[in-house]
């Protein structure tokens, strides 16, 4: 399989990045050191190239109805410039993917939506939307724009200043609230600029024409630490944010939004694929749910390690790392609800050795 390379591949290589394969894309995993990049985002500001994320545009008279029928949140309540975190669910209510849905300015009198599926799932998601559009006989256009757009995330407590400094009109940045987005020019390039991110910090995500990637990256080169996927993973895990394909997976680890701790993405007032199964689970409650934990002994729990309690395997670690901020080994795992309360003592089998751990509230750190 040949890998997609982000438009900034050569720029990153010149800057000394190491690369990894992620969702079919060759992406920078580390520029300087994961710890240095992680600390820059927690204490100052860093920039991530996230051009591997998918971009799908839904337009036409029935675009809202289509999106509402395939995502768990309430799309209809979005005004232009609003965005929401949401999931795409299967008939049984399990998460196929998570996404952020943006409502763009109207075009030709119709609503236009952009949503951002995870790397590598853009085409399958577009197919799913087209299939349902045809089945439901809706008048909507589903356009896969992933290769047309570049995307960066500027994250950290100093992100507002860095973005305002780079923007052609700083005032627009000041007025943008969390999960609001608007078009802002940077060095003359209009970017769809949203106050969103995946690090637990204040920050912005910018979407722009792929051919302008160097201009936009260059606008932040002097003020922001370049960061790779390595730091993105430690940052999101400290913030208790899920990694698609790892903390849930439609085949290997199918989980509903309620089990995955993101029940807030489910609006049962809307009718969508998976809604009835989720309504039932909402009524009966979950039997397993995701929890945060920290090891109390030396070692690091990793994806796939078993969680043990009362001499029985009760779950599996889905994400685990050494937290650079907390200097402790933390992770996420699904466990039966009777083990889910913070403070519950569990163990994790790390390469054959059983290490004591304790359930902790997520996020592990204070986030915005």
């Amino acid at each position: 399989m040949s890998l997609n390379a982000p438009p900034l591949r050569d720029v990153h290589e010149e800057r000394g990045a190491n690369f990894t394969e992620f969702g079919g894309w060759e992406m920078p995993v580390e520029f300087d050191s994961i710890r240095a990049e992680h600390e820059a985002v927690r204490e100052d500001v860093g920039i991530f190239d996230v051009s591997h994320m998918g971009q799908l545009e839904i337009s036409g008279p029935d675009g809202c109805e289509l999106l509402d029928g395939l995502t768990s949140n309430d799309v209809a309540r979005l005004d232009p410039g609003d965005s929401q975190y949401s999931t795409i669910t299967a008939e049984d209510g399990t998460i196929i993917d998570d996404t952020v849905v943006y409502r763009l300015p109207d075009r030709d009198g119709d609503r236009v939506y952009l949503f951002v599926p995870n790397a590598g799932s853009d085409e399958a998601t577009a197919d799913r939307f087209r299939t349902h559009r045809d089945e439901w006989d809706l008048d909507a256009t589903v356009s896969n724009e992933t290769n047309e757009y570049g995307m960066v995330a500027v994250q950290g407590p100093e992100a507002p200043d860095a973005v305002a400094e780079a923007a052609d009109d700083a005032r627009t940045i000041d007025t943008l609230n969390r999960f609001e987005a608007t078009a802002v020019p940077f060095d003359g390039v209009e970017c769809w600029t949203a106050r969103t991110g995946y690090t637990g910090e204040d920050g912005f995500e910018l979407i722009f024409p792929a051919e302008e990637s160097e201009t936009i990256w260059g606008s932040f080169a002097d003020t922001c630490q370049p960061c790779g996927l390595g730091a993105r993973d430690t940052l999101r895990l400290e913030a208790g944010l899920l990694l698609s394909g790892q903390d849930f997976h439609p085949e290997e680890n199918p989980r509903t939004p309620y089990e995955a701790g993101i029940g807030f993405t489910v609006s049962l007032d809307t009718d969508f694929v998976g809604r009835d199964a989720l309504a039932e689970q909402h009524e009966t409650g979950v039997t397993e749910k995701i929890v945060g934990f920290a090891l109390e002994e030396r070692g690091i729990a990793r994806h796939g390690h078993e969680v043990v309690a009362d001499d029985e395997t009760i779950g599996t670690v889905t994400s685990g790392t050494m937290s650079p901020t907390l200097d402790r080994a933390i992770g996420l795992a699904y466990v039966p609800v009777e083990y889910a309360d913070p403070g519950t003592e569990i163990s994790v089998r790390v390469r054959g050795r059983t290490k004591k751990a304790k359930v902790e509230p997520i996020p592990f750190i204070d986030t915005v």
Binding site: S33, I34, R35, G230, R298, G299, R302, T321, M322
Partner: protein
């Protein structure tokens, strides 16, 4: 990028180094290896008194992004381990040939040192 590869010790292809003095061998990992791993956050080592054979897996090193097994360049009885690494595993990044050493062995067989690469050959491998 060029890596420090001191000529006063020998190397295993899997990037561990061995430095011998009066039958005692000190073992660690190379500058190249620590750079590849990135920020080291955990090191698991054997206990003093354990007998280790050449090429045996003697421990584990974990960085934020990766887990790697450690292999013994030579065999012998463990006479010391670097306990500082338990509290400060980053010493492996900061000083892989000095304060980031991992263990000392009482060498079983001098000839095992001959199985290892000299600095020049190892340098060619990681170039």
């Amino acid at each position: 990028m060029s890596f420090e590869i001191p000529a006063d010790r020998r190397y295993r292809e899997s990037h561990e180094w061995a430095s011998e003095s009066d039958g005692q061998v000190t073992i660690g990992i190379s500058d190249f290896a620590q750079d590849e791993l990135g920020d080291v956050v955990f090191v698991e080592l054997p206990e003093v008194g354990d007998a280790i054979e050449q090429d045996e897996n003697f421990g584990v090193i974990e960085s934020i992004k990766a887990v790697s097994d450690l292999y013994a360049p030579v065999g012998g009885e463990v006479t010391a381990i670097n306990e500082d690494l338990f509290d400060a595993p980053e010493l492996v990044n900061d000083d892989p040939y000095g304060e980031g050493w991992m263990l000392e062995l009482a060498l079983d067989d001098d000839a095992e040192l001959d199985d290892l690469l000299d600095a020049e050959t190892y340098e060619a491998q990681v170039a």
